[in-house]
Symmetry: C2
Subunit: 298 residues, 2 copies
Amino acid sequence: MLTDFNRLKVFYTIYRYKSAAAAAKELYISQSAVSQSLGKLEQELKTQLFVRMHKKLVPTAAAGRLYEIVEPFVRGLEGGLAWLEAEKAGPRGMLRIGAPVEFGSRNLVEFIAAFRRRHPAVFFEVSLGHPDMLLPRLAAGELDLVFADIFPGRGAKSLPPFAVSTVIAEKLVLACSAGYHSARLRGTITPAALAGCEFLDYSHGRPALDNWFRHHYDKSLPGLKVVLTVESVQAILNGIKGGLGLGIVPEYLVEKELKAGSVWAVRTGRPELINRISLVRLKGKAASPAEKAFLENY
Amino acid sequence: MLTDFNRLKVFYTIYRYKSAAAAAKELYISQSAVSQSLGKLEQELKTQLFVRMHKKLVPTAAAGRLYEIVEPFVRGLEGGLAWLEAEKAGPRGMLRIGAPVEFGSRNLVEFIAAFRRRHPAVFFEVSLGHPDMLLPRLAAGELDLVFADIFPGRGAKSLPPFAVSTVIAEKLVLACSAGYHSARLRGTITPAALAGCEFLDYSHGRPALDNWFRHHYDKSLPGLKVVLTVESVQAILNGIKGGLGLGIVPEYLVEKELKAGSVWAVRTGRPELINRISLVRLKGKAASPAEKAFLENY
DNA sequence: ATCATTGCTTAAGTAACACTTATGCTTACA
DNA sequence: TGTAAGCATAAGTGTTACTTAAGCAATGAT
């Protein structure tokens, strides 16, 4: 690679003015410095860049070629720096956000819509997926912030470089349809009574169910009949309504149905399990105005 | 503009490795120097570019943007420098040549065709026109070399920054058709006899005719009847053959016709006027291998 | 758990080199 | 012919980028 990029800056200026004296004035250095810098560059490239004529430096073909490389760069740089300045001045620019599928396509998009009404110069790039996929991307600098629904069990301790703050705490209920309930769960609810039922969960390790049982009964029930595994709250909800069995869903999603009696939720006397949606950022990363505005409002 | 371009080179290397230590190794400087350079750049931009994490530098969005500007530049630069190297190694690349219309579209193009058979990596950009238009472009570095038919009268002294060498010396004759001759020029040829004839010239100052008369009779004849002015040797030639009158043409173009007797040329006893086609280059400009090869063969 | 390793940062000293001042040369223009 | 403008070169100086060294934090192995 070229040893000294600064000489290119001098070259660029000389080329524009076809004059060392004019370049010196623009660069706030002496004409001699410009001349020396050009000489060094020519030596370095072992190529003549200008023909010295009286009161004028005439570019050679090589100089023309070099200028065509340097010119778009300088222009791009000026534009880019101006953009950085603008981003520091107020909320604008791109925000790259990761979020769980359901939360991202529901709450987050709604919030973004509201946010953009106040800050139309901010635009978004949302990546939906598991925190397991999202957090490494955050750590690699590909995302600015990530929403993660980290269950109390795992996570937490294995994330030293992250700054975590809870934004939403939604109650999780174990629910089934009224029909399923009246058919399979008459009488008081006990772990033993539940053990014979059909269940729905989000992935094959049944993390949601295990978590719920540990919270409410201090133990997980092995050998549950998980009849449906699907990575979608909406799908689980539909399964519940269709009488497939019992599944974990955010309580606010079934509020109407619970009141109407079409859906029934297991109550154990203990407070409901809380699903904390956390906002994760890289520890030590300065927040841009756009990011600040986003964080303040959430 | 940015004060120090060299820091961008360091930034570029850091970004590629996401590591200051690796960048230091590649740049053959200490890791500390890399760290300091990055710090200076961030200060200069007043923007955080990397989040310092253990054994890793994680780029921010701003760094990504900056990289997208710098990266194509570095790649373009590498390509461009490789090209310069290649051009120095052997005859290749672009040659920008200026020439008079007739010479350029006839002799020059023929020569280029032969030249390219030996050096297929050399390509050409030919500008046709008056030396008056071409030489300033040569002086401005827009052309590498110019063929010029400079009449002895002017030129020569007003071109101090140019290096001139004659490449072709063609005899110019004042000719007319056999029919025109027998009808209008019986007997011995004198200036007085010629004065009553019709003439053809290349431009309205009748430079060719004046030049010819000064050479052969040491004076120019004012008030000549110039019945056709056209900037084309071929057109003049056709005019002569058509019996329009007398015109100046290169002797070799009418050699056959002179021998056959269909065209007749004025002979004064003096040696013929010589039209020197000169090759003009910028004094002090180093010739590329392609240019060298071109000059050697001409 | 503890220790060794790795990588980044900061501080201080040094060495390199870019810049300035000064001079001379060339050319254009009055 | 003289003067002014522009570039090149030389010598000296000043800035600053770099090196060396120490400190800190996080990781992974024993």
